[in-house]
Symmetry: C2
Subunit: 322 residues, 2 copies
Amino acid sequence: GGLGFRATNGEIDLELQVPAEAEGSGAALVPAALFGQLVRSLPSEYAELRLTPEGLELEGGRFATRIAVADPEAFPPFPEVPGPEGEVPAGALARALSRVRYAAAQEEYRAIFRGIQLELDAEKLRAVATDGFRLALFDAPGGSALAAKLVLPARSADELVRLIKDADVPLRLAVGEGRLRIEGERFRAALALMEGTFPDYQRVIPGRFVLQAVLDAEALRQAIERLRVLADRQSQRVDLAFAEGTLELAAEGEYGRGREALAAEVEGELPLAAAFNAHYLADALKGLKGAVRFKLSGAQTPSVLESEEEPGYLAVVVPLRV
Amino acid sequence: GGLGFRATNGEIDLELQVPAEAEGSGAALVPAALFGQLVRSLPSEYAELRLTPEGLELEGGRFATRIAVADPEAFPPFPEVPGPEGEVPAGALARALSRVRYAAAQEEYRAIFRGIQLELDAEKLRAVATDGFRLALFDAPGGSALAAKLVLPARSADELVRLIKDADVPLRLAVGEGRLRIEGERFRAALALMEGTFPDYQRVIPGRFVLQAVLDAEALRQAIERLRVLADRQSQRVDLAFAEGTLELAAEGEYGRGREALAAEVEGELPLAAAFNAHYLADALKGLKGAVRFKLSGAQTPSVLESEEEPGYLAVVVPLRV
């Protein structure tokens, strides 16, 4: 006995099992939001469901309700996803998707930029997102028998993360018919993949650097957030000047200007100054613990941010032209 | 030495003193939101301010900023509020305004319904709000030498509550020239009053009841919130049936129906049924601790809700015509 749920929003099909004591069997189609609200609001620990010819009865404590149901035959079948299978750890997949999510585009202008590319091979699992102005990449250990490159809509990735983030179990993956199928212990999901070619992002990751600075990631992020208040609203420009033992930040806008100096281990061609979009820099630093390694390929060419504590993470930010 | 702030939004003028070590004196006009953001974001416990011919310098830790200032002569003077004075406890005023706030109108249709009437006399302080469909009233002990009836815009009352809610000190009040002046230890505020006559609300508070029920306020509110999910979206109708020892609630809408029974001490003409707007009932119960006394004057005439733990509170809700 048990209770199964199935839902779809057209982009994600989801099937979930929850433990239940059940007698008999039956299926009904119910309005999802309403049903969820009712169950969450129950005054009792357990809920009792009864499927009758008049509707679905839901009871908990002294609260009882009966909701109208529709014929489950009208519901689309769970999509077939034939194709090769692999296995990845749920935690690694959730972390990789969450880490790069911020760099996916919000706007409409090119659909593929609103996706997250997932790359699976025998050694690792990689997630990449870019909106054409900045890029985030995360490599998680966890090779899989399934070698694939696929692009998930960022919003579907968000839902997937919600589903898997608390369960550190292996997930079975399969790709086919334009979909990614993911199966865990108590669920299976089929996510529609994005069509089109993900940008050739390797090109924009610089390999040679003229300067590297190591400093506390959170202190840098907070300084940027402070200066952002003063920065020009359009460009969000913040100026970074690297010198021996220090990184000096400055911003100036309509209302005034500000500056802040941070201690940093700096190596390379000194001094060096470059301007960045404060919003992009702050995004790339968000949630990083410990030190960040800031690697500049030049004052006008892409820079790389890496986490000293989370070696799989890499962000690319491009200096403003000034 | 000290640091004083003055601000106005046209409806509230506010002057605040904060402790500071000061040398020399001077005044400058700064953009309020920007200045607040900067101060809140400072990495240090103390802030250093320096007024120079080039602007206002603000420093904290290794962060330093200079913001452009304008001539303070351009700022409107603090309004004169001549007239009789009185004193009320800050806590009582804050509680009275907060307790009735929900019943003030959101919409535009008659300005005076968007206000809260404050009544001061030798014995008590009363706040009343009504949107024409329901009413809330709160009497706080704390007589004042100032006898007055005045109507504050609900939004100004919100700001006032933010200002006084944490300080349980006496406040000096004065009314005149269309304004209420309130002075505390470190601040003074002048609030523009609303013009027009507040509705004669005493008329709608029933004095005779056919039934009274006493039950747990929070349990009732939660049951109403649950049923609200199922209620007709337009009318928000929830049906209440009072019987010996029990209150049974029911709602029905497009998606189905629900019911819940609550234990209640019921006295009066039994059985009695009445329908209410679930949203109004839930609002009237929100935040009430302990038991509520539900007093019905009839199935189609106004009902009163009173708190057993907070005797100053009274709410009027009118049954739906069914």
